[in-house]
Structures are given as structure tokens and as C-alpha cells.
């Protein structure tokens, strides 16, 4: 009840106060005017009653008697009265006026009136009287205050009683709303309708058949529908997540199969085709599922997480793989057209600055062209990814009709098309111009009835710092593979077995934690370990093995994972490319190695000498390139040659390096104190610091 009363008051206090004040003001003003009127009437009545006595005293000139009579005439609400006598001959009256009362002047707050003082038909003079409104107001307030208090209490009671019904209704509605809110917060959407029904039943009768009740019912229906939709959405998302998970998980065995394709050459051709097609089909399914997931979740296959028309550094193999999957699906009604994507060791780690959408379109167009060129829907299309010098090479080869030479020379011109029904001739032109914009090229080789080869050349981009370009090991390196998928273990086993090094296979984080670490190790750790909350990155961080770990993951497109890798200074190998990552095996340390160092700094030379001696390496030192060139014929082309970037007489180390490369030296390394960015133009040249690399 207190709550209801409090609520009534809180809703209505302004109106109540305003109406109370209005009433008090009105009553006060009314009372004041009433009192003034009554006082005036009293005065005039008293004046008439005493007129004869006053006349007698006035004519006798008796000032004091007239004064006494004036006191009788006045009353408590008259401030003062002033008698102005008429003048006549033989008058004994000595004053111009006689005042009785309070002489205090209060401008604007005093009413002044004048009436003739008449006695028995003769005017003796005028009687002025003054009424002070402030005095009357105070007097009336002192009379009325008890009434005002009573009225205040009465109005409060009236207010409360008249609003109890309304407040009860509001409170019942609030209760209902609170209940619904609780149900929504706890997710019990199915209970909402029932709750509303119960609340409506509990409401006052007069509310039940009102539009408000209808509204509430409709709201509950909407809420129900919404909750169903939410459930469906959740299910859909779960399915979507599951599909993505399946797609990811499938990639590991798929990578193993891909890797194993190299070893099935002894099988008959048709068997090899079946196996290859099956593998391709599995890959397509996985890619398709993943694509749908990306579409739903807006995950972007973009290493810079910004799918715009701007050029971005992209891993070309992944893009082409995706396009090929789409093309296979697109042309699944032509099962005799084989569309293959050939990945080799040379395909690994090829990045380029491209517009992703445009590049896909180019590949897609080229494959489309090849399909159209193949007669009778039977043939082969191969997409080969490789690199040459500073370029990424993508070849699209088909064994279709081929293009006549006279047409071939003009292909790529705008509007020119060949053997394409409805072709606009814009596809090749667009591809060419786009590639040229990227500083790339498009070449076409074709022979009639034999086939066509489109060669795309685009400049290589610098490998992102998180990407593992190669696995460097030596004979003492112990490989520890941490993955929950046996097929991956098989891939790595297969990759490293020829080096005769120890490979340890671990399947869960606990195994890794219990593993006793030794000095020379390389961890190949999967990101996602099924059944465990910790990721591979968490383990690496926890065990503090980031300097000897490589993350192997099919989530290589995830910006979050890439960023974490960067922070931990860990390299990442896309799981699907596990079979292609170059392994650089360094010869046994015990074997004497020769290393050439060209540096004019005595200190550096001395430092390297000491370090090399410790490692049992033979260091051949040259202070300048001239001396080196004298002995150049004696030096093996496989010998690592370290060159200072700034030599005597202004010689640049990178110039010497270029020269040596042309001469056939394989391992040329620039040792410098400068940042490697400075030499980004020479992508093939390895940059190290001044410290000995041993």
C-alpha cells in the first residue's frame, strides 16, 4: 500500500501542488476582497449611525469628541480615516482635516476611497478611508491557515483515493512486464505467451477487453515468432560452423593425399586419374563448404582483412585453388573435361600484390576460355603455378582447338574474340590491361588443334613476415610434430625421413608439456587440437618455445592467428601446403664448411673468425672485392658468401652480389647493419646482420 501511495504521489505531486496553490491563492484573494467589502460596509454603516452625533460635535468645534466618534466609525480593517470638513461662515472647526488611525503609507498596496459625510441631509465634508491590502492579507491568512491545512490534507486524501485504482492497474502491468523481461533474459521464450496470459487474467476486468490487452497479445505472438527464428538461426549457425569445421579438418588428410599423389606414378593412368579426380572432388567439397561459411560469417579471405579494390598481398596458390574448385563445380556437367591445378615445390609461398576479385576473374575467364576451346567437351585443362625470377607464373594450358596465328597476334585487343558465341572480346582485353596495371604480363601461346597456353606473369610480393618460407634443419635437429591428425604426422614423417633425423610425434598438449626438451629442436605444432581449449599458439607461449616453433594450420587466413604469430615471432605454414614447404637441410656441423666473408671492417672479420673457429667452420676472409675476385675460381659455387653492403671505395655489396649470382654462386648473403627494407628490390638476396650466423 505504501508503494501504491508513494507512486500516486510521485506521479501527481506537480498537479496536486499546482491545484492546491491555485486554490489557496484564489481563496485568499476572495477572502481579502470579502473582508475589504465587509469593512467598507461596516464603515459606511457606522458613519450613518453616528452622523448626527458627529454633526453636533463638528458644529461645536469639539475636536476631541469628533475624534472619539471617528474611532467609533472606523474598524480594525480600516487603516485610517480622514475627515475633510466643509468650510462655512462662523465655523468653529479649526482644522483642515482630522486624521484618526495609522498614518503609514504603503504605495500600490493601499486602497483609498472617499465618501461624502452626510448627516440629516447636509454634507458635513468628505470622509476618506484607507484600506491596507497587506494588513488585510496577513489578517485573512491568519484566519484561513487552519482552512488551508485542512484543505491540503483533504486534497491529499482525495488524490490518493481517486488514483488507487489506476496505480493498481499500472503496477499489475509492470509486474507482467518484469516477468516477461526475466523470461527473455533467461532465454525461456516459450514461457512468454503463458506468462502474458496469466498476467492478463490477473489484471483488472476493465483492462481485459481493451485495445491494450490486444496489443499485449500481439506482442507476445511476435515474441514467440522471434524466439523461433532465433532458434532456427542458432541451428543454422551451428550447422554452418560444423561445415566449416569439417572443411578445415578435411584439409589435413587432403594435404596428405595431395602429397601422396607424387608417389602413384606406378599406378595405371586411369587409376591415377580416378584418384586425382577424387582428391580434387574432396577438395572442392571442402572449399565449397568453407566458401559458404565465409559468405555467412563474412569472413574475408584477405590477409589484410579489407576486401576492396585496392591491391593486397595474397597467397596465389590458395586463390587459384578456390577458382578451380568453382570451375569444376560449374562444369560438372562436362565430366570429361578435367580441370587440374598443379602445385609443385615451386608453387610454395608465392605472394603477389593483386586485386583479389580481379585476379579470380582473370583465372576464371581463362579457364572458361579453355573449356570453350575444348571440342566435344572432352579434354584437359591444367593450371600450373610456379615462379621465375621475380615473377609468379600462372599457366593455363588446355588441349583444345588452338588459335590460328593470324588471330593469335591480335588476341587481347579490345573487342576481338575467337570462336566464342556471344563473346564480347572484353575478357582477354580486361585481363591483359588488369595485369599490366599490376606490372604483370599476359602471354598466349597456341597451336592449332593442339592447344593453347596462357601465361600470366605477375610480380612477386615480399613474403609476409609470418609466412614460413622454408624449414631449416640440420642433422642434429629433432623434429617434434604436435597434431591430433595422424595424416599430418604421416606427411611430416615422409618429408623428413630422407634426412635421417629424429622425428617425435605428439598428439595432444599434455604430451607436449611432459616432453623433455633438448637443445636443437623444431616444433611443428597444429593450431587446433581437438578436445582441448588450448591452441597451438597458447602452448608455444606457455612453453616459451616460440623461437623454435612453426605453426601449422589450415586457419592461415585468420587475421587474429596471423597477428598472434607476429607477436610471438612465429612462422606459419598453411596446412594444405605442408607437402610443399621447402626443407633446407644444412650439412653436418662436424664437416668442415667453408664460408666466405667480404668485409673491410677488421672487427667484424675478427669476430666472425672467432665464431667460425668455435663452430669448426673455415672462414675465408677478404677485405675487398678485388682480392676475392682473384680467388674466385677456387671457390665452390655452393659455398655461402657473405658480403658487407658498404665496402671500400664506395663499393656496394649488393652490386657484387648481383655479379656473383650471374656467375652461378648459389648462396649469396648480404651482411649489413641497415634495415632489410633497404634492399627489398633484390628479393632473392638474403639479408643478415653483422653478427656471425653460426
Amino acid at each position: 500500500m505504501v508503494k501504491i501511495l508513494g507512486r500516486i504521489f510521485s506521479y501527481n505531486w506537480k498537479y496536486y501542488t499546482a491545484s492546491l496553490i491555485a486554490f489557496i491563492i484564489f481563496w485568499q484573494i476572495f477572502s481579502v476582497f470579502s473582508v475589504i467589502k465587509v469593512s467598507e460596509d461596516k464603515l459606511l454603516t457606522a458613519m450613518r449611525q453616528n452622523a448626527a452625533y458627529f454633526e453636533k460635535a463638528f458644529l461645536e468645534g469639539d475636536v476631541f469628541e469628533t475624534q472619539r466618534i471617528m474611532w467609533r466609525i472606523t474598524n480594525e480593517n480600516i487603516k485610517r480615516i480622514i475627515f475633510h470638513p466643509v468650510e462655512f461662515k462662523d465655523s468653529k472647526w479649526i482644522f483642515k482635516e482630522a486624521i484618526v488611525g495609522n498614518i503609514y503609507e504603503r504605495p500600490y498596496f493601499q486602497i483609498k476611497r472617499s465618501v461624502p459625510f452626510i448627516s440629516n441631509g447636509v454634507e458635513l465634508g468628505t470622509l476618506d478611508y484607507v484600506i491596507d491590502i497587506i494588513d488585510i492579507n496577513s489578517f485573512v491568512l491568519s484566519q484561513n491557515y487552519a482552512l488551508f491545512i485542512t484543505i491540503t490534507i483533504f486534497f491529499i486524501g482525495l488524490l490518493l483515493l481517486s488514483n488507487i485504482g489506476a496505480i493498481k492497474t499500472i503496477l499489475s502491468i509492470e509486474k507482467s512486464v518484469n516477468e516477461i523481461n526475466k523470461l527473455m533474459e533467461s532465454g525461456e521464450y516459450s514461457e512468454i505467451e503463458g506468462s502474458i496470459e496469466r498476467s492478463l487474467k490477473a489484471m483488472p476486468q476493465n483492462l481485459k477487453d481493451t485495445p491494450f490487452a490486444d496489443l499485449v497479445n500481439k506482442v507476445s505472438e511476435v515474441l514467440q515468432k522471434t524466439s523461433k527464428l532465433e532458434i532456427e538461426l542458432a541451428i543454422s549457425k551451428t550447422i554452418s560452423d560444423l561445415s566449416a569445421q569439417v572443411a578445415h579438418d578435411i584439409r589435413s588428410p587432403l594435404a596428405a593425399l595431395d602429397s601422396s599423389l607424387n608417389y602413384i606414378s606406378q599406378l595405371p593412368e586411369e587409376k591415377r586419374i580416378i584418384i586425382r579426380n577424387a582428391i580434387n572432388r574432396i577438395r572442392d567439397i571442402a572449399n565449397n563448404l568453407l566458401e559458404k561459411y565465409r559468405y555467412n560469417s563474412n569472413e574475408k579471405f584477405d590477409f589484410d582483412n579489407n576486401q576492396t579494390k585496392n591491391l593486397k598481398t595474397c597467397l596465389i596458390s590458395t586463390i587459384i585453388d578456390q577458382v578451380i574448385t568453382e570451375k569444376r563445380l560449374q562444369y560438372k556437367t562436362k565430366p570429361q573435361i578435367n580441370i587440374d591445378f598443379e602445385l609443385t615445390n615451386n608453387s610454395y609461398g608465392l605472394f603477389s600484390n593483386i586485386d583479389l576479385v580481379e585476379f579470380k576473374r582473370i583465372i576464371s575467364n581463362l579457364v572458361n576460355n579453355s573449356v570453350e576451346a575444348i571440342p566435344y567437351d572432352k579434354g584437359n585443362i591444367k593450371v600450373i603455378l610456379s615462379s621465375e625470377d621475380e615473377y609468379v607464373i600462372v599457366k593455363v594450358k588446355d588441349d583444345g582447338r588452338g588459335i590460328p596465328p593470324e588471330i593469335l597476334s591480335r588476341l587481347g585487343e579490345k573487342g576481338l574474340t575467337f570462336n566464342k558465341k556471344g563473346g564480347s572480346g572484353l575478357g582477354l582485353y580486361h585481363s591483359k590491361t588488369t595485369l599490366e596495371r599490376w606490372s604483370g604480363k599476359l602471354e598466349i601461346n597456341s597451336e592449332l588443334n593442339k592447344g593453347t597456353e596462357i601465361i600470366i606473369k605477375i610480380p612477386k610480393a615480399k613474403t609476409p613476415d609470418w609466412f614460413c618460407e622454408s624449414i631449416n634443419i640440420d642433422s642434429k635437429t629433432k623434429i617434434i610434430v604436435v597434431d591430433d591428425d595422424e595424416t599430418i604426422h604421416n606427411i611430416w614423417e615422409d618429408r623428413f625421413k630422407k634426412y635421417n633425423i629424429e622425428i617425435i610425434h605428439l598428439y595432444n598438449p599434455n604430451d607436449l608439456k611432459h616432453y623433455t626438451k633438448t637443445e636443437k629442436e623444431l616444433y611443428l605444432i597444429d593450431y587446433e587440437l581437438k578436445g582441448y581449449n588450448e591452441s597451438g599458439l597458447d602452448l608455444i607461449k606457455e612453453l616459451n618455445i616460440s623461437d623454435k616453433s612453426i605453426l601449422v594450420s589450415s586457419h592461415f587466413e585468420s587475421e587474429i592467428i596471423i597477428e598472434r604469430c607476429r607477436k610471438l615471432n612465429i612462422k606459419l605454414i598453411p596446412k594444405t601446403l605442408s607437402g610443399f614447404v621447402p626443407v633446407i637441410f644444412t650439412e653436418d656441423e662436424n664437416k668442415v664448411k667453408e664460408v666466405v666473408l667480404i668485409d673491410d671492417d677488421e672487427l667484424v672479420l675478427m669476430n666472425w673468425q672467432i665464431s667460425a673457429k668455435k663452430k669448426g667452420i673455415k672462414l675465408i676472409k677478404y677485405k675487398n672485392s678485388k682480392d676475392f675476385y682473384k680467388d674466385i675460381d677456387k671457390i665452390d659455387k655452393e659455398t655461402p658468401i657473405y658480403i658487407d653492403s658498404e665496402l671500400e671505395e664506395g663499393q656496394k655489396g649488393e652490386d657484387i652480389a648481383k655479379d656473383l649470382r650471374e656467375k652461378g654462386f648459389k648462396k649469396i648473403i648480404l651482411e649489413t647493419g641497415h634495415q632489410s627494407e633497404r634492399f627489398k628490390d633484390i628479393s632473392w638476396l638474403k639479408i643478415v646482420g653483422k653478427e656471425p650466423p653460426f
Partner: protein
């Protein structure tokens, strides 16, 4: 609600509240009066002296008041009643009242006071105590008893020091110094005066105006112009008659002086350059006192220059600072008219009011006044030789005057007053000159100044609020 509408509502409300109470200005709580003279002592027996009466109105409270001239009220009695035949009076004193910190208005004091005071009225009475009240029983009707108890001379009083008496009024005399008298309020009240200071000021020059509330002991023309402009003015009938005392043993000379002196010329010469509003009167009683006559005295001037050739009369000029030349002129004119030389002699006010006899002058102008509506006070200078202005006794008047205290009947009293007036007139003892209308000036910010109460406009400062 719109912002400006809210402001308006609040302003109206504030105006309403303001109009209820009407904020008080912050004023100095010392009521300051300027006077040319200070009373050396404050006692009820000196109530006939104007300034003393003014102070007594602040410090004393008579048993009864008759402010409207008709109804009796009391601030001293809790309750009172009388018998319809005016023989019995019952008074219940308010014993919470105090004279000062040490003396209360208790029952024993009241008993003693009522006995002593009633004795002055009528010795034939009895006083009995019943509960907390006292019954006074007279053997005969005493209609004037309550009126008698309204006189300040009969107010309850207690001697505190040799010069000061305490009463039941709101103030008490704190100190009397050479140049000022200070009264303090017994209990301070908000927005009311807590102190009254009466300053004595001799010179007309440099009359201070700042912080002075009351200039009404000055002549109106002496009040500074800025005060006359700023203050609220009220005209009251000054209950004073200005008369020329003719103190000469020879009635014939007195007759000549009475009939031949031009009253207007005398007034204008004596009050040279003074502007005041006066009303000619035909008797010594001023208008407002029963028996007074408006008009001029009947004069028939018959001169006999040879007869009065060597007669010289002395005019005691106590207003001599500025009127000496005018008076000499007046004297010359009178000599030319009648042959009587009027020697103008400078006298001091002290000599004028002193009771030393014989007086060194034959003629002088004096002001007869009273502090209440009682003609008796005006006959004191004739009936009481000790207080009179004459070097000879007027036995007929003395006899009547002395008998008046025993007369209770008003009509009888009135007849006796008329008789005395006739004797005075027949013997040419006094030439009535005029009565003055006084303009009183009051500060405009005092809210409680009520006029028309009683006939003597000495305000009760205790009632003033601002």
C-alpha cells in the same frame, strides 16, 4: 513545462508570499530624539512636564488607558470589573510584569500601590483581597475613579535611584547625562526599537539629521527642510495656550494693558520671523479643553495718556536673541498709543521658570499647557501662589482652585472653572493670545504611528515597527 512559464509561476508565488508579509527593512534600532532641554529626573509627579511626560509614556504604564477617549482598557490588569453603580471595582493584577530585574509587579506591591493611589482620590474606601484579585469598595459612587487611574501621575512606579523611577512600561531609564538621556527596552523585539536616546541640542545651527527619528520637540520651522520634505507630517492641536501674564498690582493699569495691546502685533513682534500657525483664543483654555472659547478676547481700548504719563511696566523678554528690535518697536507704538512705557528687559528662561518672588517683570508671555484634558492644570499659575507668575495673591481664585480637588461632579467642576475664568477676565490678569497647531513629523518607514489617540501626540515608541 516551458522554462519561462516556470519562472513566471515562481515570481507570482514569491510576490504572493511577499505580499503576505511585506519584507522588513533593516533599520537602526535606536530611536533618537532631539530636544532643547533634558529633564534631570524622571518621576511620575513630574508628569505635567512635557518632556517628562514623553519619557513616562515609554517607561510607565497607567492602570487604565482610554485611547479612543471612551473605552477603558488595561495592559496592567489581567482582568477587571466594576459594579454598575461605580461603587465597587475589582482588579486582578498581571504579576508577570516587572519594573526591573530585581522588582516584580507582585500582589503586595499592587496592594500598597492601590491603597496609596486611591487615597489621593477618595479616602473613604476599603480594599479586600480575593484569590489573586483586589476589590476596592467605595461608600459612594465614584464615576471618575477609572479616569483618575489613567493619569500617568498615578501609574504604578518604583523608585530606583534618586532621579529615576521605574514603571511597567517597555523601557527603563538607563542613564541621564548632561547632553543625553538613554532609555533601554526591557525585552528586545524583532523589527522594533530597543533603545531611545534623547539628545540635548542648544544651537539652531547644524541640527543633525542623520539617524534622528524625532524632531518634534523643536518648533516646526526649526526642523530642517529635508526632514520636512521626507517625513510624514501630521497636524495636531497643540494643547497649549499662549498668554500674556499681566503682573501689575494696579487693576487700572492692568485694564489698560489688557484692552490696548494689539495681540497680533505683540505675537508677531515677540515671535519675530517665526512662522507658525496660530488660532486666536478668547480664554486661557485652549481649544480641546472644556470651556475653551475660540475667537479673540473682547478689547475696548480707552487711552488716557496724561494719566499714565509716568507709568512704566517691564516686559520680561526671554526670547530676546532676535526680537529685541521688534519688541522695542512694539513698545514705542504702545507708548504712542497709551502713554505707558513698556521697558523691554532681557530675562533668561531659568528666571522665567524659577519660582523666586518677586518677579522682576510685569509682563511676559508664557505658554500654559497640560498633559491631559483637565482644565485644572491651566489654573495652577493663578491658584497656586508658589507656582504663580504674580507678585500678589489672587485669593478668590486660590479659594476656588483649592476646593476643586474635593469636587467630583463634572458639572460642578465646570461651573467653578467658568467662575475662575470670569475672575481672571474681570481682573485682567491675563491676555489670551493664541493657540498653536503643531505639525508633527514622523519617519515614513515606521508602520505603527497612530494618530487621533488621546489628544497629546507623544507616541509610544514601544509600538513602533518597521
Amino acid at each position: 513545462m516551458d522554462f519561462f512559464f516556470k519562472i513566471k509561476i515562481n515570481l507570482v508565488f514569491l510576490l504572493f508570499v511577499f505580499s503576505l508579509t511585506s519584507c522588513a527593512k533593516n533599520k537602526d534600532d535606536n530611536y533618537e530624539i532631539l530636544s532643547r532641554w533634558l529633564a534631570p529626573e524622571i518621576k511620575t509627579k513630574l508628569a505635567h512636564v512635557n518632556l517628562v511626560y514623553h519619557v513616562l509614556k515609554q517607561t510607565h504604564e497607567p492602570l487604565f488607558r482610554r485611547d479612543d477617549g471612551e473605552n477603558f482598557t488595561s495592559k496592567v490588569l489581567k482582568k477587571w470589573s466594576r459594579s454598575i453603580d461605580y461603587k465597587e471595582y475589582n482588579f486582578c493584577p498581571n504579576t508577570t510584569l516587572i519594573f526591573n530585574d530585581k522588582a516584580r509587579f507582585d500582589k503586595s506591591f499592587f496592594l500598597n500601590y492601590i491603597i496609596e493611589t486611591t487615597k489621593k482620590f477618595d479616602k473613604d474606601f476599603k480594599v479586600t483581597e480575593e484569590n489573586d484579585c483586589f476589590k476596592i469598595k467605595f461608600s459612594k459612587q465614584q464615576k471618575n475613579y477609572l479616569d483618575f487611574l489613567t493619569w500617568y501621575e498615578n501609574a504604578p512606579t518604583l523608585q530606583r535611584t534618586e532621579n529615576v523611577e521605574d514603571g511597567l512600561g517597555e523601557f527603563y531609564v538607563d542613564k541621564i547625562e548632561n547632553d543625553k538621556m538613554i532609555l533601554k527596552r526591557k525585552k528586545n523585539i524583532h523589527n522594533a526599537f530597543s533603545k531611545i536616546t534623547i539628545y540635548k541640542i542648544n544651537s539652531d545651527k547644524n541640527i543633525p539629521t542623520k539617524n534622528i527619528e524625532d524632531f518634534n520637540f523643536f518648533n516646526p520651522e526649526d526642523i530642517p527642510e529635508e526632514i520636512r520634505k521626507k517625513y510624514t507630517k501630521v497636524n495636531i492641536l497643540d494643547l497649549k495656550s499662549v498668554v500674556l501674564i499681566i503682573n501689575h498690582p494696579d487693576n487700572k493699569i492692568r485694564q489698560c494693558l489688557y484692552n490696548c495691546i494689539d495681540t497680533d502685533e505683540l505675537l508677531h513682534s515677540f515671535y519675530y520671523n517665526k512662522k507658525f500657525w496660530f488660532i486666536p483664543i478668547a480664554s486661557i483654555l485652549p481649544i480641546g479643553i472644556s470651556g475653551a472659547q475660540k475667537g479673540r478676547p473682547l478689547q475696548t481700548c480707552k487711552t488716557n495718556k496724561r494719566k499714565f504719563r509716568n507709568v512704566e511696566v517691564v516686559f520680561g523678554n526671554w526670547f530676546s536673541e532676535i526680537n529685541q528690535d521688534a519688541m522695542l518697536k512694539f513698545s514705542e507704538n504702545f507708548y504712542n498709543k497709551t502713554g505707558i512705557r513698556i521697558k523691554i528687559k532681557k530675562i533668561t528662561v531659568e528666571e522665567l521658570i524659577s519660582r523666586k518672588k518677586p518677579k522682576s517683570y510685569n509682563l511676559t508671555i508664557i505658554v500654559l499647557d497640560a498633559t491631559r484634558n483637565d482644565p485644572l492644570a491651566f489654573f495652577e499659575v493663578f491658584g497656586d501662589f508658589q507656582k504663580s507668575e504674580y507678585n500678589f495673591r489672587i485669593q478668590e481664585i486660590e479659594k476656588i482652585y483649592n476646593s476643586l480637588s474635593c469636587v467630583t461632579n463634572e458639572k460642578e467642576k465646570s461651573l467653578l472653572y467658568d467662575k475662575m475664568i470670569k475672575i481672571i477676565k474681570d481682573k485682567h490678569l491675563v491676555l489670551p493670545l493664541c493657540q498653536t497647531i503643531k505639525t508633527m513629523y514622523y519617519p515614513p518607514w515606521i508602520k505603527n504611528i497612530t494618530v487621533g489617540r488621546g489628544f497629546l501626540q507623544y507616541p509610544e515608541v514601544a509600538e513602533f515597527r518597521w
